[in-house]
Symmetry: C2
Subunit: 260 residues, 2 copies
DNA sequence: CGAGGCATTGATCTCAGTCAACCAGCGTGG
DNA sequence: CCACGCTGGTTGACTGAGATCAATGCCTCG
């Protein structure tokens, strides 16, 4: 049975303003101190004193519509991109055409570190919904933080986190069963919602089944079926892109079912 | 037909010396300037002037036997570990026991960056053969490089590379076919041998079939069978752990056969 | 010599990919 | 207003790749 009354997709007032066509200037100044995701983002554990070097960068934000790219594979590496609000996907081009989703990103995450090695970005980041991006000029960030003792480890910490993310991503991908992968994916989303103060039990998927499938190395049909099977087993309810987790331990169990 | 006359496993004179029991001191001083993998390692593109801060660290090496661990999940993060010679595997523990291989590392690679985020290592690194590890005290490295303009980007560059590696690893893992994954794995090994001045066509696998399988998210039987099928198709010859690639384009073709 | 680790090989079964049909919602345009 | 096509999602039937279980061979080590 197909989903019936589809719930309204929530939309932040911010995004509504953007959509109204009162075209906000492409770039607007912003401050970490007043940013609602500052605790998750770059300034993470910094004291307000240590924030100074960041504020001195006079950061600007850019608004992107859903579907627009933030930066592309091949772009020169100039900025780090902090996601103030919204959701993005990161993709790489496959050798023979087609794209592979390598990650989904939520507010407070910093994107673009992939450009560090070669001064050129190696991934394409696309907004999945209207989003606000904070542009952090990398060179100036390095210069600014080098001077401030408390901010020195900022970059290392940031990259360390990224490495950990990739690590766990790899572990997930080497799970063989579709159910394990999808469970891992959903549990991960749930955690990230929780750490942003949203409900870990109920949330909207910002991405299509095809995108989830690409990310998990599955087909979209398998994603669809596995979601249904979770629903049948009472782990969650799915209505289109709206997910309500009803038995998180059940999900966890199907995550680490198979050993390998 | 099972392999017949198994070739002798090559062993570097270095390793032989270790094995002879003339127990070299556990730690010995070493210098980047005289290290044969320095061009691949941390000092990468540094000029000899910029090498100074590294030499001032008075690095030491440790020798580990095959099977011994270099560092473990949970160990405090103090050092980066540069592999002077030998091969290692990195593993993480699965939630329900068992281990998952997350990477193989060759001479010139720097390990341990996974500890950066939380000051604690998140992986276990084990030597696959007798190896030489160069211990780089992280704090002191940061202090030493901060002062030297040319060496400033060392860490960022290093981490950037690591991120790229993980990225491509993820792409590989999201390939569905066993043959694609194994081909990608072999081609990657081949390239890394080449960049170290060894033959890209002929090399020894330092790891077991089970370890390859764990890394690729396959079973060891599938690895074995797929190798055989490559052999049948004339892409390579396998004798135990000795691999000779005879048709690298054939391998490449089976790498990007399936699109997804 | 036997035990144990590693690899190969075979037989069987199952899970997930493939192909295809179908449905709902949505925007377009007559 | 309805017809139309398009996108995104679900569902079904079928098939094949790869997991699983099991037996065997080779090599090394004690």
């Amino acid at each position: 049975m197909p989903p019936t009354a589809t719930l309204d997709r929530p939309s932040s007032p911010l995004n509504a303003a953007v959509r109204d066509g009162k075209a906000a200037p492409a770039r607007a100044p912003c401050k970490c101190a007043t940013c609602c995701v500052s605790t998750l983002c770059l300034p993470g554990g910094l004291s307000s004193d240590d924030l100074q070097p960041l504020e001195s960068l006079a950061l600007t934000t850019r608004r992107v519509r859903g579907g627009e790219t933030v930066f592309q594979d091949g772009d020169p590496f100039r900025y780090l991109y902090a996601l103030r609000s919204g959701t993005c996907k990161a993709t790489v081009a496959r050798p023979n055409g087609g794209e592979q989703v390598t990650g989904f990103h939520m507010a407070g995450e910093v994107l673009g570190l992939d450009g560090l090695a070669c001064d050129v970005h190696g991934t394409t980041v696309t907004a999945l919904e209207d989003s606000e991006i904070c542009l952090i000029p990398y060179r100036r960030l390095v210069a600014a933080t080098a001077a401030t003792p408390g901010a020195k480890d900022l970059m290392s910490h940031l990259m360390g986190q990224e490495l950990l993310r990739d690590q766990s991503m790899m572990v997930m991908l080497s799970l063989t069963e579709a159910a394990s992968r999808l469970a891992a994916f959903l549990l991960n989303l749930s955690e990230r919602h929780a750490s942003r103060g949203y409900s870990p039990r109920e949330f909207w998927l910002r991405m299509s089944r095809a995108e989830i499938a690409s990310f998990l190395g599955l087909t979209l049909e398998t994603v669809s079926r596995t979601l249904k099977s979770f629903q049948r087993r009472g782990f969650l309810r799915v209505d289109g892109r709206h997910v309500t987790i009803t038995d998180i331990d059940g999900l966890r169990a199907s995550y680490d079912l198979r050993i390998r």
